[in-house]
C-alpha cells in the first residue's frame, strides 16, 4: 500500500484513503468541439492512453480525506511517487521532475 502526499492536506496518508483517477492532463473537448470532432479524434480522447513505463502523470482523488482531486508523478516500474501537485498546474517539465527527485 502506498503512502501518498496530498498537496491540499499537505500530509502523507495511506492509499486506502485515495482513489486512482487515471492519466492526468487529458483535456475534455468542450461541447461545441465534440460535435465537430472526427471519430478518430474522439477515440484518442476517450480510449487511447500513454500507459507509460516510467514516470507517469496521473490523477488521484483524496476521497476519504479532503475530497480534492490532484495530480502526481509516479514511476510505474518502482511505484515510487516523485511528486504531487495541485489541480490546474501544468505537466511538470523534465527538469522539475529531476529536481523533485533530489
Amino acid at each position: 500500500m502506498f503512502e501518498i502526499h496530498c498537496p491540499y492536506c499537505d500530509e502523507k496518508r495511506p492509499e486506502i484513503e485515495f482513489a486512482y483517477a487515471g492519466e492526468a492532463h487529458i483535456v475534455r473537448p468542450n461541447a461545441q468541439d465534440q460535435g465537430e470532432m472526427s471519430d478518430a479524434d474522439w477515440s484518442q480522447y476517450m480510449f487511447i492512453r500513454d500507459n507509460v513505463r516510467g514516470e507517469h502523470c496521473e490523477r488521484w482523488w483524496h476521497q476519504h480525506g479532503c475530497n480534492m482531486f490532484f495530480n502526481a508523478v509516479r514511476h510505474t516500474v518502482t511505484d515510487k511517487f516523485v511528486m504531487t501537485y495541485k489541480m490546474g498546474k501544468s505537466r511538470p517539465t523534465a527538469k522539475q521532475i529531476a529536481d523533485a527527485k533530489k
Binding site: 500500500m1 471519430d39 477515440s43 484518442q44 476517450m46 480510449f47 513505463r53 496521473e58 510505474t76 511505484d79
Partner: protein
C-alpha cells in the same frame, strides 16, 4: 525424443538423469520470415501454429526473460468459455476446442482438467444475469447450465447453501467443459513442439526498438542481442504491449495493472471444481498438489512493477472466507503479481495494426490464459494471411474508433 510410458520407464532406470534438453538454446540469426515478440503461451503458440498449420518455419520467438515467466506462469489457470457475446463465444470456445486435444498434439501433458467452473449467484441480479449467459451460450452451442442451490451443493459438497448466510447461494451456472491446466507446461509444450519444427526460441533477448522502412513497413527489431531483420513481426507481450507498440509509433487503448494471486499450503482434496463468485468477489480452485489457488483483483493504479498491494489480497481472503468458512484456518504459502493489459471493453485486440507487417495480440487483461491456443492460432493465421480469420476479425483495433465494442466488462463483471 517422443515422450511416452516407454521413455518414462527407460529413463527411470538411469535415475532420470539422462533426459535430453526440451529445446536448444539458440543464438539469433540475422533475419527471419517472422519474429514473435514475447515468449508466453500466446507467442510460443503462435510460432507453433505458424510452423505447423502455415508451413512458415523460419521464425524466432524473442523473450526478454525466460519463457512462461510472464503472465503465463503467474495466472490461476482458469479455463472457460461461457462469455456473453457471440464474438467472445467464437474465440473462447475455439480455444477450449483446441485445449481438448492439446496434450496429444504437443506430446506434452498440459494437464487440462475439465473439472467444471461453477459461478455462484447470490442475488436476483446475479440470477438474471447468469441465466441470460446460460441462454446466450446455448444459442451459440457453448456448454453452460443453470443449477439450483441444492444442485450446486450436490456438485460441490463443501458449499453452504443455508438461506441465512450474508450472501446466500441462489443458484449457479456450471460449465462442465471448463477447468484448469498446468500453466508452465503450456509454455514448455509449445516451445518444444515449435522448436522441433524449426522455430528458434531465444530467451534473455529483450526487444528495445522496432525498425520501420521509408514506406512505413517494419524491417526488423533492435534487441539486447543485436539487430534482427524480419518483414513480419507479431507482438504478444501482454502487460508490456503499450511499450512495444510505442516503439512502432503507435498509441493503444491499453492500461497495465498489477493483478495478484496466492496459494495456500497443500491440503487433501476438498474442492472438486473451480468456484467463482462475482458478488463476493472471489475465485478459487485446488491444484493437483493440493494448494488452494486464489485469484485477487487488480490494483487501482497502472503499474509495471509485477507486485500489488497487501490490502488487495487481504480483501480477497476475506471474500474467500465469507463463502468458505472452512478455509478460515488455512495458511497462505506464496503470493505474487503479474501485469495485465486491460482494454476499455475488456476484450482483446488480435489482428493487424496500422503499421504494415506489424501484428498484435494483446488486451487479454485478467483473463487470457484460457484463450492461449485460440489466440495463438488466430495470431498465426493473421500473420500468415496478412488478414484476420473470421473468429478474430471482430477483435480489431478499429472498434475503438467505429464504436463496435465487445463489452464483456459489464457482462462478465470483474472476474475472468
Amino acid at each position: 525424443m517422443k515422450y511416452s510410458a516407454v521413455s518414462l520407464f527407460a529413463n527411470a532406470l538411469s535415475g532420470h538423469k539422462n533426459w535430453p534438453e526440451q529445446f536448444p538454446d539458440k543464438a539469433p540469426k540475422k533475419e527471419y520470415d517472422v519474429i514473435i515478440v514475447g515468449g508466453g503461451g500466446h507467442g510460443l503458440g503462435a510460432a507453433y501454429y505458424l510452423a505447423k498449420k502455415h508451413g512458415i518455419t523460419n521464425v524466432a520467438v524473442l523473450e526478454k526473460g525466460w519463457i512462461g515467466g510472464g503472465n503465463t506462469g503467474r495466472n490461476t489457470t482458469i479455463i472457460r468459455s461461457n462469455y456473453l457475446f457471440d464474438e467472445s463465444a467464437g474465440i473462447y470456445d475455439h480455444a477450449v476446442d483446441l485445449w481438448d486435444g492439446l496434450s496429444q498434439e504437443l506430446n506434452y501433458n498440459v494437464m487440462f482438467s475439465k473439472r467444471g467452473v461453477l459461478m455462484l449467484a447470490h442475488n436476483v441480479h446475479d440470477v438474471q444475469s447468469f441465466q441470460r449467459h446460460v441462454h446466450a451460450n446455448r444459442l451459440n452451442g457453448v456448454d453452460n447450465k443453470w443449477l439450483t442451490p441444492q444442485q450446486c451443493k450436490d456438485f460441490l459438497p463443501i458449499l453452504d447453501i443455508s438461506e441465512d448466510r450474508r450472501y446466500p447461494v441462489m443458484g449457479g451456472a456450471l460449465q462442465m467443459r471448463a477447468g484448469t491446466a498446468r500453466h508452465d507446461s503450456v509454455a514448455w509444450g509449445y516451445a518444444r513442439a515449435a522448436s522441433k519444427l524449426g522455430v528458434d526460441i531465444i530467451q534473455n533477448c529483450k526487444v528495445t526498438g522496432i525498425k520501420r522502412g521509408a514506406d512505413g513497413a517494419v524491417e526488423g527489431v533492435e534487441t539486447e542481442k543485436g539487430y534482427i531483420g524480419a518483414k513480419k513481426i507479431g507482438v504478444s507481450a501482454a502487460g508490456n504491449s503499450s511499450v512495444l507498440m510505442e516503439m512502432a509509433g503507435l498509441r493503444f487503448p491499453l492500461e497495465s495493472y498489477p493483478l495478484q494471486a496466492l496459494v495456500s499450503e497443500p491440503v487433501k482434496p476438498v474442492l472438486n471444481c473451480v468456484v467463482m463468485s462475482n458478488a463476493v468477489h472471489a475465485y478459487i480452485s485446488q491444484s493437483d498438489k493440493g494448494e488452494l489457488v486464489i485469484g485477487a483483483g487488480t490494483d487501482q493504479y497502472t503499474s509495471y512493477s509485477q507486485r500489488g498491494a497487501l490490502h488487495i489480497i487481504e480483501h480477497t481472503l476475506m471474500s474467500i472466507c465469507e463463502i468458505f468458512p472452512i478455509f478460515k484456518r488455512q495458511r497462505m504459502l506464496r503470493s505474487w503479481g503479474g501485469i495485465v493489459d486491460v482494454t476499455p471493453d475488456r476484450s482483446p485486440i488480435v489482428g493487424k495494426t496500422p503499421v504494415p507487417g506489424l501484428y498484435v495480440n494483446c488486451g487479454w487483461g485478467t483473463g487470457g490464459f484460457k484463450a492461449t491456443p485460440g489466440a495463438a492460432d488466430m495470431l498465426a493465421h493473421t500473420i500468415a494471411h496478412d488478414a484476420p480469420h473470421k473468429i478474430n476479425a471482430p477483435f480489431n483495433l478499429d472498434r475503438f474508433v467505429g464504436g463496435r465494442l465487445i463489452d464483456e466488462a459489464a457482462a462478465a463483471a470483474v472476474a475472468h
